[in-house]
Symmetry: C3
Subunit: 320 residues, 3 copies
């Protein structure tokens, strides 16, 4: 079966998940992003690649930050951007997701950027577009349930490549609530595809999927052991609602065992880089000394994220 | 008395209601819309007709869908669009509607697109603009109370003309909650003006205005009788809140008598078209088999709606 | 110590407060604004001064009206504008203000327009930008706590200069709730700097700061006395929440003593002008006869406000 994200001749049609996306395509996206980092440095931060295109940011889950990054990326590509918070919109009037989407297609959409609480919603959308003969419209997954957040995974890869040049000699640790994290799934898929020889996950048993080893990773429950010698530390955000459940005793307890402090980071390679997808819970999963320290590359991640999203959008527009 | 929507020499100044708008103007709008449908097919979906104009979408009632269609139309005309959800804004600070409007005028508004829960609010606005010597500013009614939704009526006419070519040999049925529907009022006004010889309304007594015959329509309470031989079926949305009141026993009951099914539709002309203003309540006023069937032109309505709104806006900008 | 709003060579870097801003800079802003009033009269209301710049409207307090004025000003300067209602966003996920700001900087922000409930927040932001080597990014204070609302103060000065030509022979009264008003603070600072020989404040003891005389004003608790012979009456908005507290007996009572009526206005100079920052509480701090009367310049204030904001933004963009 062909990857539904790729056209018959291998061009990117949608970006739904990094799982199963070939190394060549991942590398092409990162290569395409590189010149876009330079657009942000210009006097006039715009290129006309999506001029006159209609990009719909359809957010069924509210996320100002992610929506903003896509809005900026699309505007710098000169697209017309329409923001839709669908949580508070037609769906509450009893309309189905596909009716909403069909309507936006009929308005002349060229691209959907979709965030949805249900895993698989963007895939369903792409499938629906194919079934209804509207394959010229692209879908970008901006996060679906616990499934995937591919542009986050890509910007993380861009960041790692920027600082480490080569993936094939790295040890990378993903730390925290892997169980509930779409970011972790996208990161692990990309790291594996790009040839990172050792990917570790670090977290308490209650926050790791039961079959996590099947993702091709080494599992550590002890953070000190897991961090030893790693080149890249990818922190995950701990969602506050986990604290109220039975999964964790308290945020202080969590910080003690899995919060990234300077002491724990000292066990990693001297030039290790620290990533975090944001927003950070300082004093919960990461100490401020690390978040603001010399090893952190958390703000460059955000900058690269704009370039990566511009790259994805321009490739989709060119491919469709 | 001159129609307040028209200038002394007959050009469109505002679009507030289709009631009383001459056939020549309705036809001119539909003719103007035709080339705009082609803009949506272009690589760059933009024309510079409203470049540098400030269009204010002032929505006193939330409606993401309608607001979006106007936003897209205005952006494709290259206008600067400002969205204002006034329900959550200054009016809650005790400011009057006219003070809000005066302020937006003072900011350099060229056009207001207004949705309001009170019938007559856009008319009040147009009158106020005339009284205060700001006749260069246009008003487009995006739905006011139970009164009118003229761009919806126009896009419906565009759709009918597209599929049926000629209005003067048609039988058209408007089905459902006519009583509470601004869409129905605009549709009936336009159909009558454009020379449709037989307009029928179909619905239970509790959902039809008592004096509905005075609108020049034939009334049917039995849907099977009403649909017999019609060329166009215009379904209305059944608002959920009607269900909770005393007007209707239940949505199942409603569907049984007034839901459009394939069986009922079989009584209409073989090539009858089915319209719906959206969002649809599938299984309440329309069956999915019909909504997705060969006779439905519900998505083309949406596409034509963008073109019709571009036509109206460009005519207003040219006239003022 | 250098004024943190000015660069070493005296150019405007941020606009945070009018307090301490030299007369030459205030005058320069007013002079720069003048040609921008003419942009709003053009067929195409746009100039390319901020083309390709990313302006973030970061509103930690909701204010549709003020946000709209900045959005229009930025769009007429051809900037890309991103609106962020941060009250409902990441900060609720536990992120700090500075983390939010750092993220937006990393996305390539050129300018922040910030409204915040806490006095000093925009200053904190400007300081943070300097400390982190991002001095090319500008901050415009769109109202912080009870501290300042400098663009409001500037547009008031523009309005006064437009009608009165010269500041140095005026008597100006600021009337109402000075205690809670950031507008009043900005107005008094600007009037004093621009050489107005007599600035009066009028209000009940409970709504004036205890040390108000230190601002260089004459204090009146009797409105009739305070208005006698003034050339300019600057009304303040009375926030509804003051009514529920112990500060005021009732809005009727307030109107009786401090509401601006035609009778009270008759005590001022015959050609006195009346300003109000909006939104107005008609019948509370101002009578409709005055608000809509010949002396009111309340709507011109709004028009000039767009030009003044364009002037400030273009000066900041040029200076950084």
């Amino acid at each position: 079966m062909l990857n539904p994200q790729l056209s018959a001749d291998g061009r990117l049609k949608h970006l739904i998940t990094l799982d199963g996306l070939p190394k060549s395509v991942l590398t092409q996206i990162l290569d395409t992003a590189a010149p876009f980092t330079e657009v942000a440095e210009r006097e006039v931060k715009k290129v006309p690649l999506l001029r006159g295109k209609s990009v719909f940011n359809v957010f069924f889950e509210n996320s100002t930050r992610t929506r903003t990054t896509f809005e900026i990326a699309a505007k710098r590509l000169s697209a017309d951007v329409i923001n839709l918070n669908v949580s508070t919109s037609s769906t509450s009037k009893g309309e189905t997701l596909l009716d909403t989407v069909d309507n936006l297609c009929a308005m002349g959409a060229d691209m959907f950027v979709m965030r949805h609480a249900s895993s698989g919603a963007p895939y369903l959308l792409a499938q629906h577009l194919r079934n209804t003969g509207r394959e010229h419209i692209s879908v970008v997954n901006a996060g679906d349930g616990r499934h995937a957040h591919p542009t986050q995974g890509l910007l993380d890869m861009y960041t790692i490549r920027h600082y480490k040049k080569d993936f094939t000699n790295l040890t990378v640790a993903v730390v925290g609530d892997v169980l509930h994290s779409r970011v972790a799934r996208s990161e692990i898929a990309a790291l594996t595809t790009l040839g990172v020889p050792e990917v570790r996950v670090i977290g308490p048993k209650t926050l790791l999927p039961t079959d996590v080893e099947r993702m091709g990773v080494r599992v550590f429950h002890n953070m000190e052991e897991g961090l030893r010698g790693v080149d890249v530390v990818m922190m995950l955000r701990l969602q506050n609602e986990r604290m109220q459940g039975a999964l964790l005793p308290s945020s202080q307890e969590y910080f003690k065992f899995y919060g990234l402090t300077e002491e724990k980071l000292a066990l990693a390679a001297k030039d290790a880089i620290v990533l975090h997808p944001g927003p950070m819970n300082r004093g919960v999963e990461i100490d401020s000394a690390v978040a603001d320290g010399a090893n952190a590359v958390i703000l460059p991640q955000v900058t690269f994220g704009i370039a990566v999203r511009m790259a994805v959008m321009s490739m989709l527009a060119a491919g469709n």
